[in-house]
């Protein structure tokens, strides 16, 4: 089969990339063959960025991009929109339209829904990431708005996950950070010019130290994104982590296993139409007794 878009994509052509993404998002004829013929690997660093609202993630990402562009890098960003059951679409759209980077040819920005129509992490995020990698970008940032639901799933797609937090009351650090600790490869304490920042950073470092994994000591980087402070240290930490995991086949296999699992699940559940299901259930509820487990058996044999 012939894919005229593929060589253009591999050449880093932004229009070809946009067309490939449309193909994949619309599941248009040939999109599966396109994915099956993507070249392996590439050098793209896939960076997940997450953290609670108000931590200044957007400013941080904007300033990071600025700095990396000055270094001549090509950057892609997927802004994850946790559209279901929430809707941040408009919010993100506004921010992206306003962005100073929107017309720079070394930058590719895309907003995507975190959830597929079937629930679970959208397989489109996996597929679009692979298209971006094939297009040879130096960095792909996957940014989640950070309401919590999709962060952990997105961490499964990224090579390096950065968790952005702000200095806060010390007594919550234990519970609050336990979940984030599992996914963080790098911590950023943004707004590090706040008065209680040093104490917070000290505690977070102590906690991070207890969670070393694969010979990787989770670094805690202090930034003040609004003043462009701490960004070179963050870029160094990313490079170090990428170097650290480069030859870790087990880690790569683990990431690919999660992606495989998500894609299989998506494919197997594709035939289930929630709307039709609900109509069927509503009818049965109206006409008499309903038992969930007997109902499931009529749909899927044990």
């Amino acid at each position: 089969m012939h894919f005229p878009l593929l060589p253009l994509l591999m050449n880093g052509d932004s229009k070809a990339l946009a067309r490939c993404i449309s193909l994949v998002e619309n599941e248009a004829a040939g999109y599966e063959q396109l994915l099956e013929n993507l070249p392996a690997g590439g050098h793209t660093r896939v960076i997940g960025i997450t953290g609670p609202p108000g931590a200044g993630k957007s400013t941080l990402v904007n300033e990071l991009i600025q700095l990396l562009l000055e270094q001549g890098k090509r950057i892609a960003i997927i802004a994850i929109d946790p559209s279901s059951p929430f809707n941040y679409g408009a919010l993100l759209g506004d921010r992206i339209r306003m962005s100073q980077h929107f017309n720079n040819h070394n930058v590719f920005i895309r907003s995507m829904a975190s959830r597929g129509a079937l629930g679970g992490l959208s397989p489109k995020i996996i597929e679009v990431s692979d298209l971006i990698k094939a297009a040879g970008f130096d960095y792909l940032f996957i940014e989640t708005v950070g309401v919590g639901q999709s962060e952990v799933e997105v961490a499964g797609v990224a090579d390096t996950t950065i968790v952005v937090v702000v200095p806060e009351a010390g007594d919550e650090i234990q519970t609050m950070k336990a979940g984030l600790m599992e996914i963080a490869n790098i911590f950023v304490v943004n707004k590090a010019d706040h008065s209680n920042a040093d104490e917070f950073v000290k505690n977070l470092r102590l906690l991070a130290h207890t969670r070393q994994k694969d010979n990787w000591e989770i670094p805690v980087i202090k930034t003040v994104a609004t003043k462009q402070e701490g960004l070179p240290a963050l870029i160094d930490a990313i490079a170090l982590h990428q170097h650290q995991i480069m030859d870790n086949t087990e880690r790569h296999a683990h990431l690919l296993t999660e992606k495989t699992y998500q894609l299989i699940q998506h494919r197997r559940m594709k035939d289930i139409d929630r709307r039709a299901l609900q109509q069927q259930i509503q009818q049965q509820l109206t006409s008499g007794e309903f038992n969930l487990y007997r109902f499931v058996n009529t749909l899927v044999p044990k």
Copy 2:
């Protein structure tokens, strides 16, 4: 088929309930038939309670239970332990062991993992909830620790979802609450004796007002759980909401659709062994080129 446990369960026998739960959790012989023969309905009010760490959820639930017990009610609690990828097991275990209610026969407490071995919401939560309903408890509280990942999924299992928050800086209310707004049927502002509570409650009420759904104005209840303040108002709000949804067949059908979907997904993905998958991928990575999409095709035909 004969189920000697079923009449005991329906009689509210705690030991029978515990044994039924063990059957279901271990997927022991006959557990599916047990579920298929559970009676419909029951009068149990299923209440999801969630909110960020530090909001005082545990104290609130403890005080609620105390009050409802004094009213002669029978209460069940499922404490959701988001064990994967996090682990709060020990934490919850300690709290439950310490609980003053642990030996009261009108109280049934169970800690469960939020995630199934296969990922996604554990189908065991759905199944155990149905056992508790069959045992005729007046209330079933499903409490999530509130790191965010499972809250939304648990809201899909509850008739009424209570979101517990504390007064905080006004500028974060818009983004922070957007997600919670979608799942909240009732807001509780705990620690309402804080100085900025009134302003916060006012803003939250304004925001809640814009999100009315199904003729339900999301109430914002002020509590000080440590001083037992505001709890009767909360119990009233729960009763009102339950009355409101009682005859809403569409809503019931929607809840049952989500449960059906989860159970189907669990059944269909049961054969996928992540560990074996990872070994296979690791081998392929070592021996040459790996394409995710071709690999998925070898496992699951398109």
